[in-house]
Symmetry: C2
């Protein structure tokens, strides 16, 4: 089966929206944005053994490859529309490819993104690069910079689940069938949610936003330093799931929440008045975890007292 | 040096056009197409050892990664604007990365494309995936389908040079410095030209177009079968460079032209009246090599007599 047949068989959606003038199968895709909107484009690559373990089922790899990109679109406040895929793999993996395509197309359908092109190439290892283009009203673009001293720092959902899920996945035997099954923490790693709707709804009030891929502390630090500001995080206010609480000993209670990556929740800054009494946006919990300051560094408190924490940034799971 | 620093140091252009609202360094790029235009997007991946040999200098890998994508934009009739890069490589290649970035940025500058985002990841082998978005007026989009019986079949430039250049590159020692130097055929492989201006100029008259990446016969076959038509190629009319003629024996005179890939010239169909007496477009030679028929197969002639030729399609250089 050659490259063209692979793409045609597995990756061509049944229907095509009117915005796709030319889709998969030509030299390029021709797309029609809504008049008066700008476009937002993101790209994210996942390498087998670096960004996900071999034990992750192919369906989850495909699903996750889409969501991690959607999460970047969400962090900008955009509306995702079209996707291209660059897939490198070795020849002998047609079973893997079936699962991967099923997961990828399922995420695309769930979030209303259309696959419009791609390139499938042969290589020694699996490299999945997804690029998503969306629409955005420029006056509502969220960037990383813009957080202002006095703003609240907010996160969506619960934090640290995915890092615990990954830890659990790595501790399992590789031949366990359906490793994600009903396990909440595992699913949070394997099937993260992209907060696309939240991103669009907060875009007009948030002063800055980022998605949480590398860990809460490291990503919040990026957000604040991009705006030339600092902040504090009150660790007791970090939203933790019941499963997280049950799975962590007292000594590591905040470890995975602060340093674990892969949650793909949003972290954003906004005037406190805008989120006074707001508990959720688009059905997703939103929690204030801290405050932007003008001190140019991020520190943590616990019950208002200094809580020493240092983070050198997330390292992919098999890096030293 | 972490991912972010790599990107910042090597891949950030000095200036940014007004169309780039948010560029490299945020979660995504925000771009502003001209009002009233559609966008065209292409993606192409090159894997070391599959799409280019290890002996190809890093500068050429970077340059070529841009041009092969521009060539797809050219084949659609689009105007390239913005580029993202997904680069996978191992950690220990900072010298390689310097050269790669220099080549990539030099092609981007030459063709007026802006790098607006990317992702650099670690892996065992070098995988370069470039995605380019351009603007296009929909009434001028060229697709692969649309060739009409009686149309002429045309190509730009000269054909088969890159395949001979690749052959020469592979026969050299890996430690030869500057393998591309002044060698015309080698340069045609290492530094192909994308026919972007030609694509835009022929778009209103050509009925179908494709770029020549997999070989003249195989790609022309794709073009014709996409339109449900066939055609003939008169091999004596295929434009061959002096260097090509000098490098090929009589027995293989058309072999590299018909089956060799990597030329990145355009092949298109158009009413014969539109190109009567036209010898070049945008300074690039344009040659009629055949005629579209309604026979649903592609055949070759030599001086008007049947010239038996079969092609199973281009295979990357190290495939069986």
């Amino acid at each position: 089966m050659d490259e063209f047949e692979i793409i045609r068989r597995l990756f061509v959606p049944d229907t095509r929206s009117a915005s796709v003038i030319v889709g998969v199968g030509d030299d390029g895709a021709v797309l029609r944005p809504q008049p008066g909107t700008d476009i937002v484009t993101v790209v994210d690559t996942m390498v087998a053994g670096v960004h996900f373990p071999a034990a992750l089922p192919a369906e989850d790899v495909g699903y996750r490859a889409v969501v991690v990109n959607l999460s970047d679109i969400a962090a900008m406040g955009g509306k995702p529309r079209w996707m291209t895929l660059a897939l490198t793999m070795d020849h002998s993996r047609s079973d893997w490819l079936d699962g991967f395509a099923a997961g990828l197309m399922s995420a695309a359908a769930e979030y209303g993104v259309e696959l419009v092109g791609g390139d499938t190439t042969r290589g020694q290892e699996i490299v999945v690069s997804v690029q998503i283009t969306g629409e955005i009203a420029t006056e509502r673009v969220m960037t990383r910079s813009g957080a202002y001293p006095g703003d609240g720092i907010y996160v969506t959902g619960t934090i640290g689940d995915a890092a615990l899920g990954l830890k659990r996945l790595l501790s399992r035997q590789e031949d366990v069938p359906h490793p994600n099954g009903d396990d909440f923490l595992l699913r949070r790693f394997a099937r993260p949610a992209a907060r696309v709707q939240v991103g669009q709804e907060i875009a007009s009030v948030a002063t800055a936003a980022i998605d949480l891929s590398d860990g809460l502390f490291a990503d919040t630090e990026k957000l604040l330093s991009a705006g030339g500001v600092g902040g504090t995080i009150e660790v007791n206010d970090i939203p933790l799931s019941d499963a997280y609480r049950a799975a962590t000993a007292a000594s590591e209670k905040w470890h995975y929440a602060l340093s674990g990556g892969d949650d793909y929740e949003l972290c954003f800054a906004a005037p406190q008045s805008a989120f006074e009494g707001v508990l959720e946006v688009a059905g997703v919990p939103v929690t204030r975890i801290g405050t932007v300051t003008d001190e140019r560094r991020l520190t943590c408190t616990r019950n208002g007292k200094e809580f020493p924490y240092q983070d050198s940034g997330y390292r992919h799971f098999n890096e030293p």
